[in-house]
């Protein structure tokens, strides 16, 4: 896979001399640096370079936390990049309000985005006062558990089909020397896993009332207490997992050292890079096999306002390009995410992606937390859960109380 990335970059370089005359260089900042992610970005770059322009890659590794300060400084410093990735949602809200982002309404009209983008909420998250400011490029859902067939075979038990069975399988896995639940120690992973449990175990209705309506009373109540009970189980099962990064944890599932991992559908890219086959080497359960509902978060590209007319034109080209059928299919197949267009046919999609597409078609969706809560409130949620998952002395009751307090003050 990495050879292919390199080849793509190489091919892009070869293509350049023929079009160098009118090539416009656009610097694009993003934090996609893992194997599958880089391969997906290469698809964008390839398509953009084919238009005679040049994609200048500004990747910053270390997930959004490292990259976002740089992006925000660059934009407020008055020397912005030409395009930048943000998580789809409220992260760039103020930059748009301050008039630092370019209006893409014309491109959206020309490309008929309003009718193509499905679900519609994705475009809504890009819209402010009727104008469109970003291009949603993919749909990522968090609500998956990835199970290693090898680990369960080694433990001599059947691969579970839902969360309760998975918890019940814990002791057998441990006996076989496996870590039941692989989990990275970064805070977004801890809170992400909790939110998955929330959607799957308490159901989408409770999830929306807590995160969207900020119902603190509900957050302190018995329905959410069930979620904390499940999180407590997860904490116990993941106690021996001592890796930092999400893909290191995924790798433990791939190699059969761990039974499973709760992680978004981007984990699929890693299975693909490792040549694993869904259904044969691993199983994915959307909604933890309990509530088959997925959230529709994702990534979007924003285009800061630039003074240069040629670059502005190229920005428009890039924005339109990202939404085209071909680019959507190529990009999302590599990324392991779902396309934002309702009309594309992913014949080559694998088992897990098909499951996701099916759920999407049925409309069993909830909004992603990034679209519901401010980064500030989510940061507090992150801090709470990374502490909860790593410090067994915090009881689930105590954590629930703190959680309700955060929801109470959230915006």
């Amino acid at each position: 896979m990495r050879i292919r990335t390199r080849f793509a970059a190489f091919a892009a370089c070869l293509a350049l001399p023929f079009t160098a005359a009118q090539a416009v260089e656009l610097e694009v900042t993003h934090w996609w640096t893992s194997g599958g992610e880089a391969a997906a970005v290469a698809e964008f770059a390839k398509a953009f370079n084919a238009t005679g322009n040049k994609w200048v890659d500004g990747a910053i590794a270390g997930s959004g936390g490292t990259a976002r300060p740089i992006m925000i400084s660059r934009i407020t410093g008055g020397d912005p990049m030409a395009a930048t990735q943000f998580n789809h949602g409220r992260q760039a809200e103020e930059l748009v309000e301050a008039g630092l982002m370019r209006d893409l309404t014309a491109e959206a009209k020309a490309g008929n985005w309003a009718n193509l983008v499905h679900p519609k909420s994705l475009l809504d998250a890009c819209t402010l006062d009727g104008k469109i400011y970003c291009v949603p490029v993919n749909i990522h859902s968090w609500q998956w558990i990835w199970l290693s067939h090898k680990a369960f075979k080694d433990a001599g038990i059947a691969v579970p089909t839902n969360w309760d069975e998975f918890v019940a399988a814990g002791p057998a896995l441990e006996k076989a020397g496996k870590i039941p639940l692989a989990m990275g120690q970064q805070s977004w992973q801890s809170s992400g896993a909790f939110n998955v449990l929330m959607v799957s175990i308490a159901g989408p209705d409770i999830y929306s009332r807590v995160y969207k309506d900020k119902d603190a009373e509900l957050a302190a109540g018995p329905e959410v207490a069930k979620v904390f009970k499940a999180a407590d189980d997860a904490r116990r099962l993941a106690a021996k997992s001592k890796v930092q990064d999400w893909n290191q944890a995924t790798n433990m599932v791939i190699t059969g050292q761990a039974g499973g991992q709760i992680m978004g559908d981007w984990a699929q890219g890693e299975f693909q890079v490792a040549n694993q086959v869904a259904g044969k080497d691993y199983t994915c359960l959307p909604g933890l096999g309990v509530n088959e509902v997925i959230s529709t978060g994702g990534d979007a590209f924003y285009f800061p306002k630039l003074d240069d007319a040629a670059k502005t034109k190229a920005q428009g080209q890039l924005a339109s390009l990202m939404m085209t059928k071909e680019v959507q299919v190529n990009f999302n197949l590599k990324k392991g995410s779902l396309p934002v267009r309702g009309d594309v046919d992913l014949a080559s999609a694998n088992d897990c992606m098909k499951k996701g597409l099916g759920i999407l078609a049925k409309g069993n969706i909830v909004a992603d937390v990034n679209q519901l809560m401010s980064p500030d409130s989510l940061g507090q949620v992150n801090d709470l859960f990374v502490e909860f998952f790593n410090n067994p002395s915090i009881t689930k009751e105590d954590a629930q109380k703190q959680f309700a307090d955060i929801v109470e003050d959230a915006d």
């Binding site: 970059a9 880089a38 300060p69 400084s73 990064d245 490792a274």
Partner: protein, 302 residues
């Protein structure tokens, strides 16, 4: 390393002289020093040993085991092949950027700090001590606090995103400690020299260039070493105040270390780490003696 007992320029050690080769005292001194040295060398050894191992060997063994099957592939990969996003040319793309950033930043920051130190030591004016106190207090302000306001300042003076903006930032944050060193050094130069020059009618700059500068070489060496190290190793400012085509090497290091492709390639990480650190390391090893001598003359008197 030479085996000289001590360097004459450093002054003689004044501790009592050892009498016997294997006295209990010698065993204690050398034993302690060797033990401490092992502790200090351990991480370097781990870095080098790990960078020469293949991944299977790393997974099986422990970090302290010497490499059995020596491979230079991780070094090649770290220097020329490791990928960040779409760019698969490893650390090499950042090396010259680091040089381009480090050289002007070191020169400018040292010129400013040496003149500051000189003015503070010999030409004190009303309020100069207050400014110096503010500067020293500034040494304690965390960089993170300053990032945002400096973005705004640089934007207003139109230097945001250029190398010169970054040079200014490095000069600002290098200023407190360097000014302290230069001020202490210039204060220690006998006052008579300065007075005599004044009587001869030499000006502020005349005295600086003709008398102070030639005498201040040891402390300039210290300042250069400190600044090269600090600026070469900087990640935060380099990434926030410049653009991808001028990113220093440490940005690629971060990218290599933080982009995990399945498993962490510790050997490549370690090779990249050594490659990034090699410039300051070499400078320390070849100029260590000068460094201590300069410190002896600069930091000590005050």
């Amino acid at each position: 390393m030479s085996e000289t007992v001590s360097d004459p320029g450093l002054g003689e050690p004044f501790g009592p002289k050892p009498r016997k080769r294997f006295s209990r005292r010698n065993i204690f001194i050398y034993g302690t020093l060797i033990f401490v040295s092992l502790y200090y060398l351990l991480p370097l050894y781990v870095m080098v040993a790990t960078s020469l191992k293949g991944m299977p060997e790393i997974r099986l063994g422990n970090v302290f085991a010497p490499p059995v099957d020596i491979t230079f592939a991780p070094w090649v990969k770290a220097w020329a092949e490791a990928c960040t996003g779409l760019n698969c040319d490893g650390l090499s793309r950042g090396f010259w950027n680091s040089v381009r950033i480090t050289v002007p930043s070191v020169v400018v920051s040292i010129i400013i700090a040496s003149v500051n130190g000189y003015a503070l030591a010999n030409w004190r004016f009303k309020g100069s001590d207050t400014f110096f106190t503010i500067l020293i207090v500034g040494a304690f302000i965390p960089y993170q606090v300053m990032i945002y306001p400096i973005v705004i300042v640089l934007r207003e003076i139109g230097l945001y995103g250029s190398i010169w903006g970054l040079v200014i930032v490095h000069s600002i944050f290098g200023m407190p400690i360097l000014t302290l060193l230069f001020r202490n050094y210039f204060t220690s130069i006998p006052e008579e020299l300065f007075k005599a020059a004044r009587v001869d009618g030499a000006s502020f700059w005349g005295i600086y260039f003709k008398i102070m500068l030639p005498m201040a070489l040891p402390i300039f060496v210290v300042a250069i070493i400190l600044q090269v190290t600090g600026i070469w190793n900087d990640f935060l400012f380099g990434v926030i105040y410049t653009k991808p085509d001028t990113y220093p090497m440490t940005v690629q290091l971060n990218n290599i270390v933080n982009s995990v492709q399945g498993v962490k390639e510790y050997n490549v990480n370690m090779a990249a780490t050594i490659l990034t650190g090699i410039v300051p390391l070499v400078i320390y090893f070849i100029s260590g003696k000068l460094f201590v001598r300069g410190i002896a003359e600069g930091a000590v008197k005050g």
